[in-house]
């Protein structure tokens, strides 16, 4: 059964189209990613999914419930980690969870139990009695995750869960997210990090300018839209660039780097090093990041 069905989903703000007739289906128990540059419409799609932002037109169902008319029921079984931390600065870490339980109608005894279990889950038991303000960025994100799990959600919405975190904190959070997926929670995730999408998502879409450009698993998308081999030449000697172009090899130049897409990467690397003394030549496989940049372009968005 599909956890989320969106058909021709559209969102207009005053004079802009934030989401333009997108369609997608999220299967129950999968981790589904939304990738895209800033302003692509990812967060708006998330906000419509839990009824925070009303749908302008199109169909949007979560667990078979129409979000437009039954968003309260949808929110009862959804956990939300918003992009901005909105923890209660006046309460301690644990009290944040206890107070949040009330909004779901969870009785105080059960609330205390769930708060303690989730503080263990996100490894914040030691901070339970301390103020939220004293937490680091990574700890705050973990607390927001714990808060989103208080109602034992079937759907978890993570809007840029690791933006601004250090690598350690990011890996801890990824572990937790994977653990939740194993337990069968359906996860909707937005991110700017291709590595994060590749690590976590079963399937994903790449959005740009309010539209979905492509859908598929990270492997499918890489196979279909990225070149299998990429040779990056940093500060390429002019002669090397001319030589590559003369041989009609597909290539692109961005700033101080030349990206070449040859059939045999190592052979090209050897030739560049021996013939032109190019010292910074990297051979790698095509990645999701290549797909992303190829589809959305390299222009700055903000």
């Amino acid at each position: 059964m599909a956890a989320i069905v969106a058909q021709a989903l559209t969102k207009h703000y005053k004079d802009t189209v934030a989401v333009n007739a997108i369609s997608f289906e999220v299967r129950e128990g999968e981790c589904f990613g939304f990738l895209g540059p800033n302003g692509a419409g990812k967060t708006t799609t998330m906000k419509m999914t839990y009824g925070f932002s009303p749908v302008t037109s199109g169909r949007l169902e979560v667990f078979g419930l129409d979000v437009l008319t039954r968003s309260r029921e949808v929110r009862a079984q959804t956990g939300v980690c918003p992009q901005e931390d909105n923890l209660d600065p006046d309460f301690t870490v644990r009290k944040n969870l206890i107070v949040y339980c009330r909004y779901f109608g969870i009785d105080p005894v059960e609330a205390a139990k769930r708060a303690d279990e989730l503080l263990d889950f996100v490894a914040l038991r030691e901070k339970a009695g301390g103020p939220v303000m004293a937490l680091s960025g990574g700890m705050k994100r973990r607390l927001v995750l714990a808060r989103a799990l208080l109602n034992k959600p079937k759907l978890l919405i993570l809007d840029e869960p690791t933006t601004g975190l250090d690598p350690q904190a990011r890996h801890v959070l990824w572990d937790k997210i994977r653990e939740l997926r194993r337990k069968g929670v359906t996860i909707l995730l937005t991110t700017h990090y291709m590595e994060e999408a590749a690590q976590l998502c079963d399937r994903l879409v790449i959005m740009d300018k309010a539209k979905i450009l492509v859908k598929g698993s990270p492997a499918e998308l890489t196979a279909k839209h990225a070149r299998p081999t990429v040779v990056e030449v940093w500060n390429p000697p002019a002669a090397a660039e001319a030589w590559i172009k003369a041989r009609n090899m597909p290539c692109e130049r961005f700033g101080d780097r030349l990206y070449v897409y040859p059939d045999a990467g190592e052979a090209l690397q050897r030739e560049l090093v021996t013939k032109f003394n190019a010292d910074q030549v990297i051979v790698r496989r095509g990645t999701l990041e290549d797909v992303f940049l190829r589809l959305t372009g390299r222009d700055l968005r903000e």
Partner: protein, 257 residues
């Protein structure tokens, strides 16, 4: 949960925050009346011994004590649902966090207004204790004052929430405060009877909600339970519901996009 229980969870959140720092929160309603009673009662009262009221004369301090209570009703709820609500809405994103749960924005706003009124109730309760300790007002009449404060608080909290719905930023609250709240606290029959004002100003004062609230608190403080008290209370009660609906609508317009 029914809608009222959901509204109460928002109210309860604010109460919990208030209780975390209750010692600080209890100070203003405890100390303010003491200062005012001293300054105006002992200080100014030395020169202005009596003041005309209801065809007779009353002591100056006993005249202003119920006025102070009216001002406190207005300040407590108005400030809570302007500055307090704005901070929760805009800086802390508390509303966003709550409406990601089964609660709706309507319930959040009504919970905020209910809490604003509760602030008036708490302040006036503490003030009544202080004022009584200084020997003014009497039992059992003064027991009614916190409940009047709650009703008045619902009124001013709803008005405040309407301002919060279209304020461009936190500094812009200076407009309603200096255009409405401060003038009302001075000219709304608080420190002197409105009959002392020029005729045109008296006509303006009649349209000030605080004039009617202090009229009620003063009547009750002196034990005059006449028709005027009930008519005015009924007036506040009649205005509260439409103002709440207006506040909710305006806030939805601001926040649900």
């Amino acid at each position: 949960m029914n809608p009222f229980q959901r509204i109460l969870t928002v109210w309860r959140r604010n109460l919990d925050v208030y209780l975390v720092t209750w010692k600080v929160n209890f100070l203003p309603p405890l100390l303010e009346p003491m200062f005012y009673l001293l300054a105006f009662g002992a200080g100014l009262g030395g020169f202005v011994k009596v003041i005309p009221y209801r065809g007779g004369e009353v002591g100056y301090t006993s005249f202003i004590a119920p006025g102070m209570i009216g001002i406190s009703v207005m300040f407590s709820s108005f400030f809570e649902c302007t500055y307090g609500s704005y901070i929760r809405m805009y800086y802390q994103k508390t509303f966003d966090a709550i409406i990601a749960t089964p609660l709706s924005l309507e319930e959040v706003i009504l919970g905020e207004i209910l809490w604003g009124a509760t602030k008036s109730f708490i302040s006036v309760t503490i003030m009544c204790v202080v004022v009584r300790a200084f020997g003014f007002m009497q039992f059992p009449d003064l027991i009614a004052l916190p409940f009047v404060a709650f009703l008045g608080g619902l009124f001013f909290a709803s008005v405040a929430m309407c301002f919060t719905s279209f304020t461009p930023g936190i500094d812009a609250f200076n407009y309603p405060i200096f255009l409405f709240i401060t003038p009302m606290s001075l000219f709304g029959g608080t420190y002197f009877p409105i009959e002392g004002l020029p005729a045109w100003a008296q006509q303006v004062a009649v349209f000030m909600p605080l004039t009617h609230l202090t009229s009620v608190t003063r009547s009750i403080a002196f034990g005059h339970w006449d028709m005027g008290v009930f008519v005015r209370l009924a007036g506040f009660a009649a205005l509260v519901a439409p103002l709440m609906i207006l506040a909710v609508r305006l806030m939805k317009r601001r926040l649900i996009v």
